[in-house]
């Protein structure tokens, strides 16, 4: 574990001068300062005073967000960027005071929590507020205020109380949103619907340049955004570009998000300190540190998820009463390098090696120990890429992707087998990465045709791969060669899940087109899992 304790900013005294009081009164905010903790490795500003810049231009152009809901807490996020694509969002090097408010009502008549965070240049003027003391399983509204500028209002929801009997919940999951390959039509649909939480399973940005005119978006961008991201400023710029999208902003404002990373937040198919093209290890560690830092700055997560150089604590749990436990996994940082040189290969000594792991030993133990608690009816693995075997070659020969769990067969056996041994009632995997929808029944050992122990719902990309179609050739091959695959679709979209004690319903929402701005989203299929029966029914 690379995380160390984070020394809080040592603030001995805050002078509450007259001007400030006037400002806070005008904003309707009670006095009281909450200063965010400093990050490891991040120097604080050289100024001995915090000047509170009023910012002439509207600073909330990257939207707002909330995330990582607990029964008494959510994290609120924004980043001040009046000119999002300029270095540091066009904010100068002075710290900026950001007032935040949490209310029980949309009009902020019943404000229940409020405070001030200082947005600093070394954090690209992002703020993370870990709001505590909230009540479980209820909606709250939040907003930020800087000078005369008021942010949009976001809606969020805390998690239920521990062990609370929950009759049902609704959530969405999404992944893979290459900027230049489409519009975020899926998020427009997601934002218009009610979700208790949204899970983002990675590829929120891509490291690749977006092209001089953003591909299908036909939006010219500064040269910095046409390069592959290596430095912190480049990763920051890429998040800023993606987050200017109004549909993405709306989806963040509509529900709390729980976010992990896949490969493209750093680099295609990276594996721990090993880069795609075997860049020198030292060089790649610096790149990882830059990538993780920018991810943290743009994601509503707690300080526990702040990186310490090239290490970051991403795997964590979210409990929804006695109904659902989300185990958010990190299958990039601790994995062994892809077997057989990556790509798609027949099963080989590397992919079958019992010593290799996609989670790393510590995370595997954490996951299995958690499963032993049998804390919820639906035990969910929320993670990056498919666990199910996916033979992509027609005919008797088998060829499988080396980047999915097919390249780490031992992890599949240990974790699926571990769930069975621990008496997990309903094991469900949700993932992304493939840019296609694939719903499968999970077996510990496909070759030996061991019993089905769980189900898997891989969601398609939001945009990556452009419009797609109902089935492409690879999809037809996957359906023909893998009898455990019960559903496939190659359009873009997201998955909306409604879960109660009796059943899990996965609604695959797909866009007719993403290469135009006005595509429409509809339900392609609803897939159902009954409680206690690890099988997928297609309705």
């Amino acid at each position: 574990m690379l995380l160390t304790g984070c020394a809080p900013l040592n603030v001995r005294e805050v002078t509450r001068n007259q001007t400030r009081r006037k400002f806070l009164t005008a904003s309707g905010v009670a006095a009281g300062l909450a200063i965010s903790g400093a990050l490891p490795g991040i120097g604080t500003s050289n100024a001995s005073t915090v000047e509170v810049d009023r910012l002439r231009d509207y600073p909330f152009r990257l939207g707002i967000a909330s995330g990582d809901p607990l029964p008494d807490s959510v994290v609120l996020w924004t980043r001040l960027a009046p000119h999002p694509l300029d270095p540091f969002g066009g904010v100068n090097d002075r710290p900026v005071a950001v007032v935040w408010q949490v209310a029980e009502d949309e009009r902020f008549r019943r404000v229940v929590r409020t405070g001030v965070e200082i947005a600093r240049r070394e954090s690209s003027h992002s703020v993370h507020v870990d709001v505590r003391g909230l009540r479980p399983w209820r909606h709250y509204y939040y907003r930020f205020i800087v000078g005369g500028h008021i942010s949009p209002v976001g809606r969020t929801r805390t998690a239920p109380a521990p062990r609370q009997a929950l009759s049902g919940m609704t959530f969405a999951f999404a992944s893979c949103q290459a900027w230049w390959e489409g519009f975020y039509t899926a998020y427009r649909d997601m934002a218009a619907k009610d979700h208790d939480v949204v899970l983002h399973l990675g590829d929120y940005i891509y490291e690749y340049g977006v092209g001089a005119d953003s591909g299908v978006r036909r939006q010219p961008v500064p040269v910095e955004l046409t390069r592959e991201t290596m430095t912190l400023d480049e990763y920051r710029g890429r998040y800023a570009l993606y987050k200017t999208d109004p549909d993405l902003q709306a989806a963040h404002a509509a529900a709390p998000w729980v976010v992990t990373v896949d490969d493209h937040e750093v680099e295609n198919n990276w594996a721990g300190p090993i880069s795609e093209n075997n860049a020198p290890r030292e060089e790649f560690l610096v790149r990882m540190a830059n990538a993780f830092r920018a991810w943290y700055e743009h994601t509503p997560v707690r300080l526990a998820q702040a990186p310490n150089g090239p290490g970051i604590q991403l795997y964590r749990r979210f409990q929804y009463g006695d109904l659902v436990r989300f185990n958010l996994l990190d299958t990039r940082q601790y994995r062994d390098d892809q077997a057989g040189g990556d790509g798609e290969k027949p099963p080989n000594p590397g992919s079958l090696d019992p010593k290799r792991s996609i989670t790393g030993a510590a995370q595997e133990k954490w996951l299995l120990d958690g499963m032993a608690e049998r804390s919820a009816r639906w035990e969910v693995l929320a993670h990056q890429t498919a666990i199910a075997q996916l033979d992509v070659k027609a005919g008797p020969d088998m060829v499988v992707p080396m980047d999915t769990w097919d390249g780490y067969v031992a992890s599949r056996k240990r974790i699926l087998g571990g769930a069975r041994e621990r008496g997990v009632r309903n094991l469900v995997s949700i993932a992304g990465d493939l840019h296609r929808s694939v719903a499968s029944e999970l077996r510990e050992d496909y070759a030996a045709s061991t019993p089905v122990v769980g189900t898997e719902f891989v969601g398609t990309s939001v945009t990556s791969g452009r419009d797609g179609m109902d089935h492409d050739q690879i999809g037809r091959t996957i359906l023909a060669e893998n009898p455990h695959v019960k559903f496939h679709n190659f359009q873009r979209g997201y998955v909306r899940c409604e879960v109660n004690a009796a059943q899990w319903v996965a609604d695959y929402r797909v866009a007719d087109r993403v290469t135009v701005a006005d595509g429409t989203v509809s339900s392609r299929s609803k897939l159902i899992v009954e409680d206690g029966v690890p099988a997928i029914q297609v309705r």
Partner: protein, 265 residues
């Protein structure tokens, strides 16, 4: 403006950063795709890891392709230098002479001389002119196929263009001229070296297009290519841009152009 006074105890001494530059002097001509280039190194010479922001300030007419380099700087022993390439261009109208580029991090400053050379005469109309592409792989620069280096031996280290979308076609690579000019011949050098022969890794199928009065006109179609250099000769037209629409490569993975050239005849 109002001020919150904080105590100075919050100030931790930040580790010192040194700047290195290679080469120490940059030469450049007034063509958009023929940037002068330098590598800027930042080294943390202290004992604690830190992040640092290096600001680049380029007084007119010098234009740097980035304004800032922010990066994590580990305090490893031995010291580790984080190196970032910087491209420097000047407008076509820039007067030859010596200018400067200033780099600063914390209180350290470094000035790099930038020598602007006169525009060279050229037969290859697209040499150094503005290139754009449907996508460009991170190890390459979009300008890499109009930089005058057609040598496949320098592929990916110093020159060439490679798209970023593996196994997805078509890919497009285009070069714009500042004014219409007669174009009657386009030559394309695809990757063709002992290690990467064209028959295995080179561009296989493509259309050659020129832009005439705002519309793209296909002047040649190359199919089934297996060699390095392909000439497309056609009746000269007045055009202000050249475009390659890459339809497939011999490994069906990436479009690879080492150099694209266009001539009057």
């Amino acid at each position: 403006m109002w001020v919150l006074a904080l105590t100075a105890t919050m100030l931790a001494a930040t580790a010192p950063v040194t700047i290195s530059v290679n080469p120490e002097k940059v030469q450049v001509v007034g063509l958009p795709c023929m940037p002068g280039s330098l590598k800027v190194g930042m080294t943390n010479t202290g004992t604690t890891d830190r992040y640092a922001d290096l600001e680049l300030s380029a007084p007119s007419p010098v234009v740097a392709d980035r304004k800032i380099i922010s990066t994590w700087l580990p305090a490893w022993d031995p010291d580790h230098t984080v190196t970032t390439p910087v491209g420097v261009t000047v407008p076509r109208t820039a007067k030859p002479g010596t200018y400067s580029l200033t780099l600063s991090v914390d209180r350290t400053r470094r000035t790099v001389p930038v020598e602007v050379l006169p525009l060279p005469p050229k037969d290859n109309l697209v040499l150094g002119e503005q290139a754009s592409a449907s996508s460009t792989h991170g190890s390459f620069r979009t300008c890499g196929a109009v930089d005058g280096d057609a040598d496949s031996a320098n592929w990916s280290t110093r020159t060439g263009w490679n798209d970023a979308t593996r196994a997805v076609f078509p890919d497009e690579y285009s070069v714009s001229l500042i004014a219409p000019s007669a174009i009657g011949r386009v030559e394309l050098q695809t990757l063709d070296s002992a290690r990467y022969p064209a028959a295995q890794n080179g561009l296989r199928d493509w259309d050659v297009q020129v832009r005439v009065a705002g519309s793209w006109v296909t002047v040649d179609q190359v199919r089934g290519n297996a060699v390095g250099r392909v000439k497309s000769v056609f009746p000269a037209v007045q055009a202000d841009a050249v475009r390659i629409v890459a339809l497939d490569s011999n490994d069906h993975a990436y479009s690879r152009i080492v150099e694209l050239e266009a001539y009057a005849r």
